[in-house]
């Protein structure tokens, strides 16, 4: 059975690209554009892994992730971020809240590698 990945990003282009890439690598993908949709999707069809943007419209991505972890515990989370102004400082904060964080400039192959590692494939 295919592993299920939930993608949360307010930009449609990001969602479409990641969906196309991960589906092509034999994953079942659900994409949502807001924190509210993410909570609904996560509870109705729990994923095996979550990929989320840090900055969502009207919401803090980390806050959404914390709520989602409470609702469906034990699921690994990858945070996608833009360029970090102070990587060392932000890294220290992010690493406690998510299982992995990657910049949006990270190649897709690297993102796939991270997904596979977290899903222990």
């Amino acid at each position: 059975m295919k592993k299920h990945i939930l993608i949360v990003d307010d930009e449609a282009d990001i969602r479409d690209l990641l969906n196309e890439f991960l589906s092509g690598n034999d994953y079942r993908v659900t994409t949502v554009g807001s924190a509210g949709e993410a909570m609904l999707a996560g509870q109705s069809d729990p994923p095996d892994l979550i990929i989320s943007d840090l900055q969502l419209e009207n919401t803090d991505g980390l806050e959404m992730i914390a709520n989602l972890k409470k609702a469906i515990p034990g699921k690994p989370v990858i945070l996608l971020t833009g360029v970090l102004f102070d990587p060392e400082v932000v890294e220290g904060v992010l690493s406690t809240k998510v299982d992995s964080y990657l910049m949006k400039t990270t190649p897709l192959s690297r993102i796939l590698e991270t997904v596979r590692n977290l899903l222990k494939e």
């Binding site: 282009d13 690209l17 360029v83 400039t105 190649p107 897709l108």
Partner: protein
């Protein structure tokens, strides 16, 4: 096969001809026998008539004479193409005529009751001589036919032997030919099987090559698709990042000018427009010095430089916290602190970044 058939048919034809000739020879013999019998019957019925005077005997005698003539005609026809035999038959004509005439005279004389004439004719040797001559010729003819029969029987035997040998030789040849053809067919079949095997082998090889190539193309296609996705992802993320960077720069309150190497303005941030009250089109391509002016020469310089900013840019040096002035669109001078940073691309100075911090707030202008 055609040659054998031709020879066999010819031999069959010869056999039929030979059979006809045998029948023909038998016919000649039978007619000579019949002629002789008719002669005996004629003699017999004649003497009977002479004794009895019965008209029926006369009729029988005349019938016998007619039969003699009939058999003679037939013999003549049968021997037409055999000169020797035909000549012999021809020898019968005279005696038969003499004989017939004599018998007829006798019959007429007897019917007329002329017994003396009958006696005289009977005693004459005419009839007997004729009969003897006829018998001699008939015997000779018959002996000749029997000899011919023997000859033809031998020829027929040899003919049948020849036919037999011809047919068996033909059969043997045909068997050999068939064997040869069978061998050729077998050989041909074997060659065809080899060709078929080779073709199948070639097909399998081609199929495997095609599969391999398809796999390669599929792999290349997937690779290209992945590359394409990576490129799109990279473009998108760069674009996204550029937008973010732009927003960050646009939110800075310090005035930021980006210039060319010649210190002509190429970009300004919104803070510049806000403080100067100018619009971007009026500033772009304008020399910086028309908008910004250093108040004093940079610290540490021995003599005032004609254009310290140009000098710093050319030297590739930073220039920090220099007092300067900016003029707004109303001509009002606004004191600022100027810093210059060379804009580098691969270690090559391609332009400059000049930041201005306003030290005394100026009156607000609409941008």
């Amino acid at each position: 096969m055609i040659a054998v058939s031709t020879v066999a048919v010819r031999n069959i034809g010869r056999s039929v001809d030979s059979n006809d000739w045998v029948n023909h020879t038998h016919a000649v013999i039978l007619e000579t026998e019949a002629l002789r019998s008719s002669l005996l019957v004629a003699n017999g019925t004649l003497h009977t008539y002479v004794l009895t005077g019965d008209p029926r005997d006369q009729t029988a005698c005349r019938n016998a004479l007619a039969d003699i003539d009939d058999h003679f005609q037939i013999l003549s026809a049968l021997t037409r193409l055999a000169p020797t035999d035909h000549a012999k038959v021809g020898q019968l004509e005279l005696p038969i005529n003499r004989y017939s005439r004599s018998i007829e005279e006798l019959l007429v004389a007897k019917a007329a009751g002329q017994d003396n004439t009958v006696r005289t004719l009977l005693e004459a040797s005419t009839i007997n001589n004729a009969v003897r001559e006829m018998e001699r010729v008939i015997k000779s003819l018959k002996d000749n036919q029997l000899a011919l029969l023997t000859e033809r029987d031998t020829a027929s035997y040899h003919q049948s032997q020849t036919t037999r040998w011809t047919v068996w030789t033909g059969v043997a040849l045909n068997v050999l030919l068939l064997a040869g053809v069978a061998w050729l067919i077998r050989d041909d079949l074997s060659a065809r099987r080899q060709v078929t095997t080779a073709l199948e082998e070639a097909n399998r090889f081609l199929e495997s090559r095609v599969k391999e190539r398809t796999r390669e193309l599929g792999s290349a296609n997937r690779h290209l698709s992945t590359e394409n996705l990576e490129r799109r992802w990279a473009n998108h993320s760069l674009e996204h990042q550029l937008r973010y960077n732009q927003r960050i720069i646009d939110s800075i309150s310090d005035l930021v000018f980006v210039t060319t190497h010649s210190l002509n303005i190429s970009r300004v941030n919104p803070a510049v427009l806000h403080v100067t009250g100018a619009d971007s089109t009026s500033l772009i391509s304008k020399p910086l010095k028309e908008v910004v002016r250093l108040v004093v020469a940079p610290a540490g310089s021995l003599s005032p430089l004609p254009d310290p900013l140009k000098y710093a840019l050319k030297a590739g040096q930073d220039l920090r916290d220099q007092p300067a002035e900016i003029q707004d669109r109303l001509g009002q001078r606004i004191p600022v602190v100027l810093s210059l940073f060379p804009l580098r691309d691969n270690n090559r100075v391609v332009g400059g970044i000049i930041t201005l911090r306003v030290t005394r707030p100026a009156s607000k202008h609409s941008a």
